[in-house]
């Protein structure tokens, strides 16, 4: 409500709960008509995709063939991303950094803020065509770790040709290399990260820095959990002393039991997506499992640390999630996508985007560039986490196909579904 950058308080780019709920309903219909028998139900979207792909297929084949070490020039790039996830010129609603890229490379970029939920984007845009072996209509997509892991497992991603992306190889921050779902660091190029920790109203709770409070009866009925399994179970695992990056089935069960008990005992007010923000603004919730980006852009509109609403990385540790740029299988403009990835990993470009976006930047060197643009942002630990933060951040490991279903099922059951 007090946010001046966005007219709607809940229009953060990430996991826009309600949007995804509505899109979910649409996706439900879409996938009811698709899936099952490949190529029948999904004929409509994939036909459209292959039609548009056909035009540029010849061009990109020659581009791919000649790629090797020379970066792509000209052609087009169709890119699906999230709302509020790139710098925008407020005057004419153009994207300055994309413009710069277009001018430098001659590549025409179609940037579409199409994604409002990983699950729904998977069902509406990826599942149908990729099951049928068709291109998706996108050359570059921005999706969260767990969806990258799923797509990698299904063989639905193109490998990034790292010989044409020297900046990516050189400037990717070390903690993002060789992640469990991407051992060779050539399937996913991190775009933005966020941290999951404690959001709280200092006026009501005083200073908080421990995960214990989430599971104690203190502030009973006034705290919220997240509806993302990896965040909520991940924090519980850290509290129990486990590392989510190597969580075992037994450890998962233990962690989930802690979560379930807190929910059953009505310690937890609600399990929410972004809507915990309204509850905190209205003083209904005094603490929440919260995403750092939400707290930055919504709870503290002017980003001054003197505000009542605060975010802390728990002393036991917190979760780090990342949205990654990936190239879906069969994308006709793979070379152009790689060119963009390399462009973004030039620190000056990353810093320019970061000055607008306010999430955690995965590009090493961007902080130095940011010092020249805006010292306050460069000093903000929620955007450029210092080493002691990085040491406490955990990433949830890639799960197996079976775990993906059974764990999601167990988690939704604990949530009361």
């Amino acid at each position: 409500m007090t946010d001046t950058r966005s007219p709607l308080p809940d229009l953060t780019r990430r996991r826009f709960l309600q949007g995804s709920a509505l899109a979910g309903a649409a996706a439900f219909l879409a996938a009811c008509t698709g899936g099952g028998t490949p190529g029948t139900g999904s004929a409509a979207p994939s036909a459209a995709a292959s039609e548009s792909a056909a035009g540029s297929a010849a061009a990109s084949e020659s581009a791919a063939a000649s790629a090797g070490a020379t970066p792509a020039q000209g052609g087009e790039l169709r890119w699906a991303s999230w709302i509020g996830y790139i710098d925008v010129n407020d005057a004419d609603q153009s994207y300055p950094t994309i413009k710069k890229f277009e001018d430098e490379t001659g590549i025409k970029v179609t940037y579409n803020e199409k994604i409002d939920g990983n699950e729904s984007f998977f069902t509406t845009d990826l599942q149908g065509p990729l099951t049928a072996g068709q291109p998706t209509g996108w050359d570059l997509i921005v999706v969260t770790d767990w969806l990258v892991a799923r797509l990698a497992r299904l063989g639905w991603l193109e490998k990034i040709d790292t010989s044409v992306t020297p900046n990516f190889v050189k400037n990717l921050a070390p903690n993002y290399k060789a992640r469990s779902f991407d051992p060779d660091t050539d399937l996913a190029a991190p775009w933005q990260s966020g941290m999951t920790g404690i959001g709280f109203n200092k006026k009501k709770t005083g200073e908080l820095d421990s995960l214990e409070v989430f599971f104690s009866t203190q502030f009973k009925g006034q705290k919220t959990y997240l509806d993302e399994m990896r965040d909520t179970v991940g924090l519980a695992a850290i509290k129990l002393g486990y590392d989510p990056a190597s969580i075992t089935a037994q450890q998962f069960d233990d962690s989930l039991a802690v979560v379930k008990k807190a929910i059953d005992d009505k310690i937890v007010r609600q399990v929410t997506g972004n809507s915990y923000v309204e509850d905190m603004q209205a003083d209904s919730a005094v603490m929440a499992m919260a995403w750092s980006g939400d707290v930055l852009t919504l709870l503290v509109p002017d980003q001054k640390p003197t505000q009542d609403f605060q975010w802390r990385l728990p002393k036991e540790g917190g979760m780090l999630w990342t949205d990654n740029m990936c190239i879906p299988k069969g994308a006709p403009n793979k070379g152009q996508a790689e060119r963009w990835i390399d462009f973004y990993y030039d620190p000056i470009n990353a810093a320019t985007i970061e000055a607008y976006v306010n999430y955690v930047c995965p590009v090493a060197g961007a902080k130095d560039e940011m010092l020249k643009i805006d010292k306050d942002i460069a000093a903000n630990p929620l955007i450029f986490p210092p080493d002691d933060y990085v040491a406490r951040l955990h990433q949830f490991r890639a799960v197996t196909a079976e775990e993906e279903t059974t764990w999601a099922e167990a988690f939704t059951k604990a949530m009361g579904l």
Partner: protein, 335 residues
């Protein structure tokens, strides 16, 4: 001449065609697909096959009947409450609206100019634990400090009632507006006066019963809500309801009552936004289950089976309801 007759014979079909085509494309076809999906087996890793696994239906019902039941109870309560609020409102506009009729009707539908979602989210602000409404009540000590409305079943039912109230009010208004006031005057001339003592008794029983049901569903003390509701019911039955109202107004308004209650009940049962935003983990509805099964667990067959079961349950309920109220009245007078 023959051409003219043929054209006349074809006319109804031509007129029906666009609507039918629409229904087939956007209702029948997806419904069939949904049904087929419910009989798949598989997962996203290995793909799905059409296995005609009928067992999924009994499984889904056994596992999820509490959520189905809860949705029907919440939807039913919201419909009754919407009727309780909507009938006096529609009555007042139809009979006492005078020159303000159009303005009042506009106000009834005005909330529709705002997105359903934003309206529901704004409830989070209005009903906040320390907000506009509860804050002052807590300050003066009427309510205990830890009392809350949000994240309770009461908030879910209230949210649904609010969001679907216009669907109840408008058909009621249309039915009431058409009533020839002279019929009521004639009934009054023929001694259809105050409805006592039956009105007192009926009001007492209905009000008390509704109060107890509300209390049980919401987890409050039955006496705490039942007694005031019974008193209110008795008062309404004694002083506000006349025999003319029971014998003339209500029967003539029946088509509106029927249409309004269906238009409210059907979407209310399937609603998931209110439960998601205003409820707690103990008050989630079948719509939430279907959404989670579909998007989070990627268990498409169960999600589809549950959707189908919900559709059938509503359809069966509808048939019974139509039987009880009688169809001719409805088709005859609902327009």
């Amino acid at each position: 001449m023959r051409g003219a007759i043929a054209a006349r014979r074809l006319a109804p079909y031509v007129l029906l065609a666009p609507g039918l085509l629409w229904l087939v494309l956007f209702y029948v076809y997806p419904a069939i697909q949904m049904f087929l999906t419910s009989l798949w087996t598989g997962n996203i890793q290995n793909g799905y096959v059409q296995s005609w696994n009928w067992g999924i239906y009994p499984e889904a019902i056994t596992e999820y009947w509490p959520w189905l039941g809860r949705s029907i109870v919440y939807g039913g309560l919201a419909t009754i409450l919407a009727f309780g609020l909507g009938f006096p409102l529609a009555y007042a506009i139809a009979f006492r609206g005078g020159t303000y009729k159009n303005l009042l009707l506009f106000l009834v539908i005005a909330p529709f100019f705002t997105s359903f979602l934003l309206r529901t989210i704004s409830w989070k602000i209005i009903l906040a634990d320390d907000g506009l409404f509860l804050g002052p009540l807590k300050d003066v000590g009427v309510l205990p400090e830890d009392f809350r409305l949000l994240a309770t079943p009461a908030a879910v039912v209230a949210g649904i009632t609010y969001n679907f109230l216009p669907f109840m009010t408008l058909p009621l208004y249309v039915a009431l507006e058409k009533i020839d006031k002279r019929l009521i005057e004639a009934a009054e001339d023929l001694y259809a006066g105050p409805w006592r003592p039956q009105g007192t008794i009926v009001g007492l029983v209905l009000g008390g019963a509704l109060g107890v049901i509300v209390a049980l569903v919401m987890d409050y003390s039955p006496l705490l809500i039942g007694i005031p509701m019974a008193a209110a019911g008795a008062a309404i039955g004694t002083f506000l309801i006349s025999q003319a109202f029971i014998r003339v107004t209500v029967p003539l308004a029946l088509p509106g009552i029927f249409a309004g209650s269906l238009l409210t009940f059907i979407p209310a049962v399937g609603d998931f936004i209110n439960a998601e935003l205003l409820g707690n983990p103990q008050s989630l509805m079948i719509g939430n289950v279907i959404q989670a099964r579909y998007l989070k667990v990627t268990d498409y067959p169960t999600a589809s089976a549950l959707s189908f079961i919900l559709m059938l349950a509503i359809l069966i309920g509808l048939l019974i309801y139509t039987r009880l109220l009688g169809t001719e009245d409805l088709t005859g007078a609902s327009i």
